[in-house]
């Protein structure tokens, strides 16, 4: 088969799965859609987190639009307590960390490193120069590109290209590969020159970055973010929502349990703390997740005589987690070689978090 034939038959495949960012259209919101008085570094919509240092307070939202623009949802940072004068160490940025295993084809850290292009929509209250930062895992390589909000509170499209980084340490395993950050404001400690790879200092924004956190009327909206290899932003890579959700679940997922419906069988082994029922996760996670139970009581019912043990506090049951399953357990009761069914006593969610 000739190269020409290859290109003719399979050329369209190159346009698929090109977005290195997950949930770039902000459709997936497993944690919720509203994050009032957002806590620093907490994740908001799937795969994205907003973080800050300083006295400013803001809320984050997934908001929808039916305007004649090419997306349904966007992410908003809404200022509720202004920080008029940013101290040197202050900042606010909205970030996604890309897993290094998704970047092998870019050859970063080698001479053949490929360029990247970021296309996105933005709507900020304050007009002027904004920054987007690209950093490696230890921020020993940083690249800043600027974009402009020309008209207040109007959707505008931006496209920036950065050259592939040919040196430095770029991880290749299931750790952080590339960090992409949109700065809403930034003090002098974390600013640097745009348009070149910076090898000293953790830089989030250019020295021209405006302070969009200086008024409680300000918002910082981002939408339809796509990062792809090459020097041109191409059409939106619209993945089906089920596929996008699965990609998100590698990092965060919610399990649902119905009240009094057994979800597993446990066997006592004489070592009480190791008794537990295993729940298989629908998607293998990046690493063993932290596990959070909302509050529902967990019950263990002995199958031989239906005697039950119930624990009402999440602090009092045990969890062991792996990338493919978690094990839930109530502490033992001193009876070996018995079988138990495990169930929650109310509809509940169990949240598994393996984010960076």
């Amino acid at each position: 088969m000739s190269l020409a034939r290859d290109t003719a038959d399979y050329g369209h495949i190159k346009t698929a799965r090109k977005n290195l960012l997950i949930n770039g259209d902000f459709d997936i919101a497993q944690r919720g859609t509203s994050f009032v008085a957002h806590t620093a570094s907490d994740y908001t919509l799937d795969r994205w987190f907003a973080t800050h240092s300083g006295t400013m307070v803001y809320s984050c939202f997934q908001l929808g639009t039916t305007s004649d623009i090419p997306f349904r949802h966007y992410h908003r940072i809404d200022v509720t307590t202004a920080d008029v004068t940013m101290a040197a160490g202050d900042y606010v940025h909205f970030t996604q960390k890309i897993e290094a295993t998704s970047m092998h084809h870019l050859h970063w850290g080698r001479a053949s490193a490929k360029d990247l292009t970021l296309g996105f929509w933005h709507r900020c209250t304050k007009v002027g120069t904004y920054s987007v930062a690209f950093r490696n895992s230890d921020a020993s390589r940083c690249y800043i590109r600027e974009y402009t909000q020309a008209v207040t509170n109007e959707w505008e499209y931006a496209e920036v290209t950065i050259p592939g980084c040919t040196d430095g340490t770029w991880l290749e395993d299931a750790n952080v590969g590339l960090v992409v950050s949109f700065a809403a404001a930034c003090g002098s400690t974390y600013t640097g020159a745009a348009d070149s790879w910076i090898t000293s200092g953790n830089v989030i924004a250019s020295t021209n970055q405006v302070n969009n956190m200086d008024n409680t009327a300000n918002v910082f909206d981002i939408a339809h973010v796509q990062l792809e290899a090459g020097t041109q932003a191409t059409d939106w890579d619209g993945r089906p929502v089920a596929e996008e959700l699965t990609l998100c679940q590698r990092y965060y997922q919610k399990l649902y349990f119905i009240n009094y419906r057994p979800f597993g069988v446990a066997r006592s082994s004489g070592t009480p703390d190791l008794i537990g029922a295993t729940v298989t996760l629908p998607t293998e996670m990046k690493s063993a997740p932290s596990v959070l139970n909302t509050s529902a009581a967990l019950s263990r019912v002995r199958t031989s005589d239906f005697s039950s043990t119930t624990i009402t506090a999440a602090t009092d049951f045990f969890v062991a987690s792996g990338t493919r399953q978690i094990m839930l357990d109530i502490a033992g009761e001193g009876t070996s070689n018995q079988t138990y069914t495990m169930m929650f006593q109310a509809d509940t969610g169990v949240y598994c978090d393996a984010e960076f």
Partner: protein, 107 residues
């Protein structure tokens, strides 16, 4: 009471309600290790309370119930078979059970 409590595998974050695995790739475990480096000391792993005497007794009875029932079957069969016990003398409920179990065995 410390922020963290040790568990069999990893620890429990009392403030966030997270069960945290001892996995270096887990960001909450990384935060815990940082907390330890800064001088934090987690509370020890909770120990399950020992079973009460009644629970021990119940467990022992449960373990022996099945064997006891098999022994009772054998004993009753033996006593009825050699004429020591007349079926009519057995209380009705026990007699019904004996007949039912005998039918189940196909005897």
């Amino acid at each position: 009471m410390a922020k963290y409590e040790l568990r069999n595998e990893g620890c429990y974050d009392r403030e966030l309600g997270h069960h945290i695995p001892d996995d270096e790739a887990n960001r909450h475990w990384q935060e815990y290790l940082q907390w330890v480096m800064e001088g934090g000391v987690a509370d020890p792993k909770p120990v399950a309370p020992p079973p009460t005497p009644q629970e021990v007794l119940n467990a022992d009875l449960l373990q022996t119930d099945k064997e006891m029932l098999r022994g009772f079957d054998w004993l009753l069969e033996y006593l009825v078979g050699n004429g020591t016990v007349v079926l009519a003398d057995i209380p009705q409920a026990l007699k019904d059970l004996y007949i039912a179990r005998k039918a189940l065995r196909g005897a």
